[in-house]
Amino acid sequence: MFLDFVEGPLWYAAAAVFLVGVAWRLAAIARAGLKEDLSVPRTAGAPGAVATVFRRFLPHREFMRPAAFQMVAGYAFHIGLFVLVLFAAPHVEFIEQRILGFGWTPAPHWVFLLAANFAFAGLLLLWLRRMLDPVLRRISTLDDHIGTGLTFVVMFTGCMALFESHDFLRALHMLFVDLLLIYFPFSRLMHAFTFILSRGFTGATMARKGVSA
């Protein structure tokens, strides 16, 4: 019954909050508006915006060393999570049956294990740095910790559910997934969508000036 609830009404409610919330946040950015830039550009802004969206996936060559830890841990976490969310067998099945009506070949078990290890290691390393580094301690907020904590619990219960194949564990996992979806639009997790805009705005402005950002 608990499983039916978290995979039924709560899931639909969480998905609705997620979709409406994300759309609302993105609309809020659009509503804030931007004045037309009247300066004469050296190069067009739009291609610069697109270029910067992709360019910032790697740090500037000169900044590779200071960014190394965050880049490695960040990619381990994000790529690991991406593989888990989209290619874990139960997720593919869930997406096929409940969301899209079609699925794809799931990742083999060893890929799942590898991705999970990367995701956990990355997330924990980033969180440890947040707790230990004086700069990160100064700038971190409760939201940063809640987002990390919820993501960790979702990943942890997901692994437990997969290994134990128990309905209660699956329900627990779904409960935290639902909570994460509800929390998402109100949190920094929104960066998963807004980074495209923030990189794009900067890329466009700098491209107008003739600078590759």
């Binding site: 009247l38 004469v40 980074f195 794009g200 705005f201 402005t205 003739g210």
Partner: protein
């Protein structure tokens, strides 16, 4: 709540555009911007983390643009932005940020933190929280026409000296000239050799140019302090003078913020496209060289490097021209490890040099430039900004270093080819 504070809050609210909202929405508090800021790297103090300098503005964004922020303030669980926040952050916003924009180049989510701080300063200054030195400089700029108090009489005296030294007549208010040249006060007072240099180069290259007696000052204190109204007034004077003289181009001098003010913010500040093109002196010199009008001869064999003025290079897009010009006259030109768009600031931009109380911190931050110079072991550093030059000379003097600083335009003028013999 004081009236001034309300004005500050209103300014911050007004400036919360799509860029700022997306930047705050995207920031994941990774702290990487700290490693790009010389005030953090040279002090190790986390309070100098660039994104932390935006805490008052972030608070404003949170309480007005986010669910938790609105709810927290409503329930009395979160303190809204208070006047004390602005008072507490004044030194961080003005003393420890040169608006150099290095942090903006490294943010993984692409936040232009320099842009955000520039906007935050608008709120700070509207609320009355800005350094006295910068307030005074802005007042002088508006009332006298120059942040250093340079008047037309001072300029005329300098020009007389230039005419004496060069044997050239300096055109003032020449109707229909192609180019109108601006100067920074520092060039008029401290580095008249810059004016001599462009006079020589322009005469040799056959450039039709003039100075306006009504608007010769390029420095824009309004941009530095974050007062758009003042900045617009100062840009407006240049526009009006250029329109009167009917020039096609306005030349921005060897001054970083002056270039940003007129080239990138000018039209936006006056609310209409500029009726002339803005060109930086280095862009023009390189253009003249390419056209064969600027002929250079000889070269220096001294090992030298180029200090990139942030607002001209990283924030202005004039990246390759100074390098191309330098290579023409210097055989031993070497680059610092971090150069071009990833250069390290001199520590005195963004009005920090006009802010007396920031001097000890500025000199501490200069250690970054010192490390760069020590690593290269150069005898000469060339730059293209009068403000950078003063700051670099002060830092070099403070640390007892043996490095000469010179302006790029002067260096080029020294290698100007003589008239061809017939």
């Amino acid at each position: 709540m004081s009236e001034r504070f309300e004005q500050g809050v209103a300014a911050l609210r007004r400036l919360m555009d799509a860029r700022i909202v997306s930047y705050f929405s995207s920031c994941v508090h990774c702290g990487l911007c700290a490693e790009a800021c010389l005030f953090y790297t040279e002090t190790g103090d986390p309070k100098y983390t660039p994104i932390y300098k935006l805490e008052p503005m972030r608070k404003m964004w949170r309480q007005e643009n986010t669910f938790w922020g609105k709810l927290g303030v409503k329930l009395g669980l979160t303190e809204p932005l208070a006047e004390q926040d602005l008072a507490d952050w004044e030194t961080l916003v003005y003393d420890s940020c040169t608006l150099c924009g290095r942090c903006s180049m490294v943010c993984p989510v692409g936040n232009d933190i320099a842009y955000m701080i520039r906007k935050e300063r608008e709120g700070m200054v509207a609320a009355g929280y800005a350094p006295d030195g910068m307030k005074e400089a802005t007042r002088r700029a508006l009332e006298i026409g120059s942040p250093m108090g340079v008047t037309l009489k001072t300029l005329r005296a300098t020009l007389k000296g230039v005419e004496r030294n060069t044997g050239l007549a300096i055109p003032v208010d020449a109707q229909g000239a192609e180019y109108m040249t601006l100067f920074s006060s520092m060039e008029v007072v401290n580095f008249p050799e810059y004016i001599e240099s462009i006079a020589r180069i322009f005469a040799a290259a056959g450039v039709s140019w003039t100075i306006s007696s009504e608007a010769f000052e390029a420095t824009n204190s309004g941009i530095q302090i974050g007062d758009s109204k003042a900045a617009g007034e100062l840009v407006g004077r240049v526009v009006s003078a250029a329109e009167k003289l009917g020039v096609q181009y306005v030349i921005s001098p060897e001054c970083g913020h002056a270039f940003t003010a007129i080239r990138w913010e000018g039209a936006n500040l006056i609310g209409r496209p500029l009726p002339f093109k803005v060109i930086h002196i280095l862009e023009l010199l390189e253009q003249l060289r390419e056209e064969g009008r600027l002929k250079l001869e000889g070269h220096t064999d001294i090992r030298l490097t180029f200090h990139d003025p942030c607002q001209i290079v990283r924030r202005g897009g004039v990246v390759e021209q100074p390098r191309q010009l330098l290579r023409e006259v210097a055989t031993e030109f070497v680059e610092m490890r971090d150069h071009g768009v990833m250069n390290w600031c001199c520590g005195g931009g963004g009005g920090v040099s006009a802010n007396e109380r920031a001097e000890p911190l500025r000199l501490q931050a200069f250690q970054r430039k010192k490390k760069q110079l020590d690593e290269l072991g150069v005898e000469t550093m060339v730059t293209a900004c009068a403000n950078c030059r003063i700051i670099l000379e002060e830092g070099i003097e403070h640390y007892g270093m043996d490095v000469q600083v010179t302006g790029l335009t002067e260096l080029l003028a020294e290698h100007l080819a003589g008239p061809a013999e017939s």
